[in-house]
Symmetry: C2
């Protein structure tokens, strides 16, 4: 039976490894939300998880990795939406639809984190800087895909600018969701509000990028 899932493979070692990682991550997020990201030390996390400090930094090289999960998924989301777009669909239409879908699903990757989580990020300069870097990575991946589909040179200014503009709209809407979450609005209301705002935001790009790719 060919199982598609990368099954545990009977690996007791793999299982414990994953358990340990999850254990550390759970304690970390709990302590971060309770006491703040900057105020919580790695030593405290290690003590709470009953492991050595080195084990924590082994699984999570940087402290930010303990708080921000699914980084690669986030960075690849826009590029994936373009490569998986429908035949004949423009890049802008695909990215517009991808955001609408993410909002409808209240996807955490689109910014629908809990209020406490949003507070943790907003209160930490380290995490906000890390988030900026993720938006930047996401834009670079999108530019790579756009260069592929348009058969343009990697340094082409139109590709770079188009990727940046498209990524920027997603970034602005991401922060909008975060802001509303911080203000205490319920997710349903945020989804309703942002869906309408997203239309206006993407419309600013529509005349310039409608027939791109």
């Amino acid at each position: 039976m060919a199982t598609q899932t990368p099954a545990p493979a009977a690996g007791l070692r793999e299982t414990k490894k994953h358990e340990t990682r999850q254990l550390i991550s759970d304690h970390a997020t709990r302590l971060f939300i309770a006491g703040g990201f900057e105020q919580t030390t790695i030593a405290e996390i290690a003590a709470a998880a009953r492991v050595a400090k080195k084990t924590v930094t082994n699984y999570f090289p940087r402290k930010e990795d303990l708080a921000l999960d699914h980084q690669e998924e986030f960075a690849a989301s826009l590029a994936r939406a373009v490569t998986a777009r429908r035949p004949g669909e423009s890049v802008l239409a695909a990215l517009r639809r991808a955001f609408a879908d993410a909002v409808a699903a209240q996807d955490p990757v689109a910014g629908f984190s809990g209020q406490e989580f949003a507070r943790m990020i907003a209160d930490s300069p380290t995490l906000t800087a890390c988030l900026r870097g993720l938006h930047d990575q996401r834009e670079h991946h999108l530019a790579q895909v756009l260069a592929d589909v348009t058969a343009a040179e990697p340094g082409d200014i139109t590709v770079q600018t188009a990727a940046a503009l498209l990524g920027t709209v997603h970034r602005v809407l991401f922060h909008r969701i975060q802001t509303l979450t911080l203000a205490g609005h319920p997710n349903d209301q945020i989804a309703h509000t942002v869906a309408a705002e997203a239309a206006r935001a993407f419309d600013l790009l529509e005349p310039g990028l409608a027939d791109y790719a």
Copy 2:
């Protein structure tokens, strides 16, 4: 004996302060370019300048402040270009012209740093992250100005998006100049190339933002 010293205005203290700051900054940039930002320690800078470590961190709270100067000027550049625009000139036209002027003048604020300086930034994750933060600040200041001139609510999505899109074009072109500088192109050639590319980049926003503000 000199009884009164009204004119000097206690200049001895101010003078020594400024001298010490410049002394530290000079040694820092020299060591950073010679050995890289991450590899150079504050202790080495302090030793070179013949002061205590604490004195360095007193003048420059963060290590990045030793390398990146004129941060506030950079962050305010776009907002200033808008507030100082000609009567009847659109925001987009003002920012397009501001970039053209900066390129013509080969302004360091637009990205025209020396090759060694660009290398120092590109090789340092800390400095690139700091630069991202400066672009972000610049965008926020621009959004503030746009909210003022359009009499819109601060959280208005059109204002946020317009500021982000306009800031993004400047950011892409900034990185373009940096990339060309890293590749060893002379400033004159870069200015010529980027001036043409900037026209194409801003044209993507023209249909959507031509009549904004």
